[in-house]
């Protein structure tokens, strides 16, 4: 095993350098990659079936892959999440099912990539470029946030993680719900702006603005270049 510095200095981010209290290390910091699934990033996934444009999400696969490799090389823990429902749909709220049916893309029914947003279907899988490695936990969740009805908080606390770096899709939905919930739990959060995307670019921009209000009410925003340079 090669020796490497076990702590890194603060990252240049907005509105303050992150983390707020100084250094970070693989012992206390994890990368969380939200919902980089074919259902959200693929031409034939659920999002596309709902008439959403998957191109902005597909475009962040490459920068996220680059970030993922740098984080892995520096020894950081990586957590992946997937939105999807049990095959019997016992965890699907009736209003969520109804809303998706309005787009002729009802969750659990057959789409071009198998049953939409259903665990085990091809469309529910993480895109191949970002396939989790052994030892990287995958958190399956029925909602937008990654804490509700999952063991995410338990595994983060058990590992001693207090800083979270966020990438994934979509910025305005699952990424920000999870970041908000993490912030309320006291985690120090940083959002990597070029490694997340929304179906509508102006909504992505709004989330960057919300995050920075009140001197970082939910944490900070940074570019992956700054992070990769610091840990490489």
């Amino acid at each position: 095993m090669t020796t490497r510095p076990c702590t890194f200095p603060q990252i240049a981010s907005r509105p303050y350098n992150w983390p707020f209290d100084g250094q970070f290390s693989p012992n206390d910091t994890a990368l969380i990659i939200i919902d980089m699934q074919i259902d959200f990033c693929g031409q034939d996934g659920w999002c596309a079936q709902c008439q959403g444009d998957p191109m902005p999400m597909a475009a962040v696969i490459e920068p996220t892959r680059r970030l993922l490799e740098a984080m892995r090389a520096a020894g950081f823990w990586v957590v992946h999440t997937r939105e999807g429902h049990r095959e019997d749909l016992s965890d699907l709220a009736e209003n969520k099912r109804w809303r998706s049916a309005r787009f002729n893309a009802e969750i659990g029914t057959l789409g071009p990539c198998g049953r939409m947003l259903t665990r085990g279907a091809p469309g529910w899988e993480i895109v191949p470029e970002l396939t989790p490695l052994e030892g990287e936990p995958v958190v399956d969740k029925p909602g937008k946030g990654s804490f509700y009805a999952t063991d995410l908080e338990h595994i983060l606390r058990t590992r001693g993680i207090r800083n979270l770096i966020f990438a994934g899709v979509t910025t305005d939905c699952c990424v920000h719900t999870t970041m908000r919930d993490a912030n309320d739990r006291g985690f120090e959060c940083m959002l990597i702006e070029d490694c997340c995307a929304a179906t509508l670019p102006h909504n992505h921009a709004s989330i960057m603005s919300f995050t920075q209000m009140g001197h970082g009410i939910f944490g900070t925003v940074a570019h992956s270049d700054a992070l990769i340079a610091a840990i490489s």
């Binding site: 309005r102 102006h202 709004s206 919300f210």
Partner: protein, 229 residues
């Protein structure tokens, strides 16, 4: 009988709107967010942007109370010993003026339970029997008994109002939606530090014609209830 409130989509999705299964949540209408001498005011924010929600919420309360709807108020604030205040939240709050959460303001300690500035504004004072949820974060579910109370009461539909649109209201609505509650946000009964952020938040809620719930004006709800009562 089925009732639908016109808005982003006719709400609730299945028309099952009754006082027995529906609650109004009034979020953080406290002096610290809406009043002179409060926390937000000390940061130089124009509290007119949050106070704009007071009158429409007062009218809504007058309408819903006699009909028997379940009413819940929330308050953001910390224990006097600040044992529930994360270190990063404390640090961020002190960056702008040097006086962060727990520091003494013109009326009392900012965002601390029991202080005059932490109280709900008098116009919207909770009535006897109405639930008050004290929370340490932005969302109203984490670290509280809100979900337990809603489930025990049989509540399925939530009407969301209060401040601020982009912060505590949005966090609570997102967390409620993940839990299967059928939510509606009343646009005129909310406010943010800036009108721009309020408008952008409403725009985000419009994706996929209501990914998190519906959006309407309080008149839409009141009219729908009057037609049926």
């Amino acid at each position: 009988m089925s009732i639908h409130v016109p808005g982003l989509y006719p709400w609730p999705f299945d028309g099952d709107l009754r006082p027995e299964n529906t609650a109004l949540i009034v979020i953080d209408m406290q002096v610290d967010f809406c009043g002179e001498g409060g926390w937000v005011h000390s940061l130089g924010v124009d509290v007119a942007n949050t106070r704009r929600a007071i009158k429409p919420i007062a009218r809504l309360l007058e309408t819903l109370r006699p009909l028997g709807y379940f009413i819940i108020h929330t308050r953001e604030g910390h224990r006097p010993d600040l044992s529930d205040l994360p270190a990063n939240k404390a640090w961020r709050s002190a960056q702008q003026t040097g006086k962060g959460i727990g520091a003494k303001g013109p009326l009392g300690r900012f965002l601390v339970r029991g202080e005059p500035n932490w109280d709900i504004v008098p116009e919207l004072a909770p009535a006897e029997g109405e639930i008050i949820i004290d929370k340490s974060g932005k969302g109203s579910f984490h670290g509280t008994d809100l979900e337990a109370i809603l489930r025990l009461k049989g509540i399925r539909n939530l009407i969301l109002t209060g401040v601020t649109t982009d912060c505590c209201v949005q966090s609570t609505l997102r967390d409620a939606n993940d839990r299967g509650f059928e939510c509606i946000l009343l646009e005129d009964c909310c406010g943010a530090g800036t009108q721009d952020h309020h408008d952008r938040q409403i725009e985000i809620f419009r994706i996929m014609d209501g990914l998190y719930g519906s959006v309407a004006m309080s008149d839409d709800l009141i009219s729908a209830l009057e037609v049926t009562s």
